[in-house]
């Protein structure tokens, strides 16, 4: 499965946030979307998911336009979305959170069961019956990823999974992402931290003030220190 945007523009109220953004993501690859806070990473994810009131340009899934669809329809076509700041349903238990994410399996995507997800994120198994609001930030982040995988998506948009987490937990997160990739998922992960991106990504985009400034492989990116200094946080 292949997702691509062409000339995507997006607005928040009067503010023009994205300018003619072209990005692509295919099954089986991890692509990093690098940029600072406020560069437009979350806005890009939200516009792909149909969560913004005003956008222009095209979003295509296997060459069919999806930008006019409702968020739930986009999700049902196989795009999973893990938002920033986690957004677990804190009143619901871990199990119930997973039930909300549940969708029928798809032929073109890996299939996940709660059992498998508990194997990847062992902490969640211990807390199955616990309200997710009483878990730590790292555990909540794992739950949002597991919840999205319950929808058996082919592609996943992962918004700043490392934000605000202790470096030790971030390292765990990286291995989970690599495991998802080996199952055939395509993952677009937004990140401010180049070190983290280096651990997981095959390709990368750099976004700054709503413009894509770089598109290429991780090797190309690391070979050019000027890029890093100009656009990235660390």
């Amino acid at each position: 499965m292949k997702l691509s945007t062409r000339g995507l523009n997006a607005w928040y109220g009067p503010a023009h946030i994205l300018f003619n953004v072209d990005v692509a993501l295919a099954s089986g690859e991890v692509v990093a979307l690098l940029g600072r806070n406020g560069a437009g990473k979350s806005t890009l994810f939200r516009s792909v998911m149909g969560l913004l009131a005003r956008t222009s340009g095209e979003v295509q899934l296997d060459d069919r336009p999806i930008q006019a669809l409702e968020p739930y329809e986009i999700a049902r076509r196989g795009i999973g979305y893990v938002p920033e700041d986690r957004r677990v349903f804190t009143e619901l238990t871990v199990e119930e959170n997973l039930i909300v994410g549940q969708r029928p399996p798809r032929p073109d995507a890996p299939r996940w069961t709660p059992e498998q997800l508990y194997t990847i994120f062992p902490n969640l198994r211990e807390m199955r019956r616990r309200p997710s609001g009483r878990m730590s930030g790292g555990e909540q982040q794992m739950l949002t990823i597991a919840r999205t995988l319950m929808g058996n998506p082919a592609l996943v948009l992962l918004d700043e999974p490392s934000e605000g987490l202790a470096p030790r937990i971030v390292e765990q997160m990286a291995s989970a992402i690599l495991l998802m990739k080996t199952q055939g998922l395509g993952i677009l992960v937004s990140e401010q931290n180049l070190h983290f991106a280096r651990l997981i990504a095959d390709r990368a985009y750099i976004i700054e003030k709503g413009h894509i400034r770089f598109a290429g492989t991780m090797a190309e990116l690391t070979a050019d220190p000027a890029l890093k200094d100009a656009y990235l946080a660390l």
Binding site: W11, Y72, A75, R87, T90, L92, I99, V100, T148
Partner: protein
Amino acid sequence: MSLLLAQFLAGLASAASLFLVASGLSLIFGVTRVVNFAHGAFYMLGAYLAYSLTTHLTGPLGFWLGILAAALLSGIIGGVLEILLLRRIYHAPELFQLLATFGVTLATQDLVILIWGPDDLVGPRAPGLTGALPILGQFLPTYDIFLIVIGPLVLCLLWLLLHRTRFGILLRAATQDREMVGALGVNQKWLFTSVFALGVFLAALGGALQLPRTAVTHGMDLSVIVEVFVVVVIGGLGSVPGAFLAAVLVAELNAFGILIYPAISLVLVFLVMAIVLVVRPYGLLGRREGAARAPLGALLRPWRPLHWVGSLGVAVVLALATLLPFGLGRYGLGVATEILIAILFAGSLQFLMSVGGRASFGHAAYFGLGAYGAALAVKWLGAPMELALLAGPALAILGAALFGWFCVRLSGVYFAMLTLAFAQIVWSIAFQWVTVTGGDNGMLGIWPPRWAARAPTFYWMTLLLTAAVVLGLRHLTFSPFGYALRAAWDSELRAEAQGLRPKRLQWLAFTIAGAVAGLAGALFAFFKGSVFPDAIGIGQSIDGLVMVLLGGVGTVSGAVIGAIAYKAGSIWLLSQTDYSRLVLGLLIVFLVVLFPKGIAGSLQAAWLTIRTRRPKTGPGA
């Protein structure tokens, strides 16, 4: 002892319907974030439909089938209403949804009279449950025992639904984060429609189950909605167990209050509500809603003082208004005076809403207190108008300071519901305390002295007071106090960190708004020569809101323009029809759907769309 037990059981029986209606309201609010004002209307509709169905379907099975069918039918009507109306306005500020469903309530009142007539209707009794059981020497109707069982039964069923079915888990998830549920592939539209239908079904069932106990009347919607607001404020909006707990509490307070003194039950309920709000501001089992600023209108630009052109414009308008008596007849001048009073009232609400950041749904309380304060001063103290015009606002200040102390602890819909509940309390005092206020018959003969009795003189006096006070409110907006108040609304966190005390600022603003509304009320009493409980009615409160929202939140001129447009329009409309509530209700619904951001906000949004469609020559493109 046995009497107390009987009273306790009777209270439990009354709690059942209250709980059904309140739990429906809570469920709908939880998922859709809409406080469905029309919930009372559906309660009434359920009762009327049950009356028709049970009188046609005879036999024991027919009765119960009729009750159930009435609730189901109402649920379907509710679902259709959600699809036709609410779906269009989910993105509007929450106030607009409250307003739209209020419009539905108004229209329903006239529709019910059109269909079933104005008289009270008495339905059949429940077959098999007509007797009474002796309990400790007192006889308790078997139907009451049935109701006592129904409450906890429905509570259990709802709990099972919410915790043991995927639908229920989705509902709870949506209660917390609707957008996220959608992004996970759940079709929210149907989730919303079904929860609305379910909530309405519960309300209508509550109404239908009252059929064997009380007569069906076309006033039962408002009386139940106020009681239900009190219940959800006490129990916590969005919590079904909270609704149950609070319904029992309120029903028992009513049951035992009546034993002591009929009017005291009202005070008891009020006291309990006040205590709960002080101890737990979001109700017994409720949770704090997100502290997001309630977007009343898209305020893209900060307030700005008037340009000199604007000042000139104001001067010209004032000059023209002063010359009006030379061009208008007696009737026209009367309308103009009434509009001026409306401007004063709308201006006070506007100050509270767009500087204080709180939208009151019970601002009529202070208008009414002003009117009654003036009338009481004339009737009981023999005060002249000059003094009575001070006594009115003084009483309004007392009321606003007392109620405001509780109200400013809340915001958003909680604030709206609490202000409405307080206004209803003032209304029922005016209505019930016949020896002092004349009750329904009102107080007559509140005329101005001879020097102000002529229409032009009274008009000029009103104009002077209105202009001075509205300009004063405008000045206040730009004063340090006005800014401190706005700061508290913009970011309470930041305001407190700078040493400001948001609650005190808002309390003062509430009292000032109350005082100005009180002045409007006092003028109104002398203008009409009389005062009736209507002055405190929900209609008066809603009039104020419509005027402010129509003109646009965020500008002082908005209230003035809105008041002129709405008052003139409705005076004309009411002279043309007998079904004023139907027309007015539909008009409100129409306006909300047409201008979901208010007229000002919608115009601003339209302008932005036009502007950004043009190719930009800015940087970066």
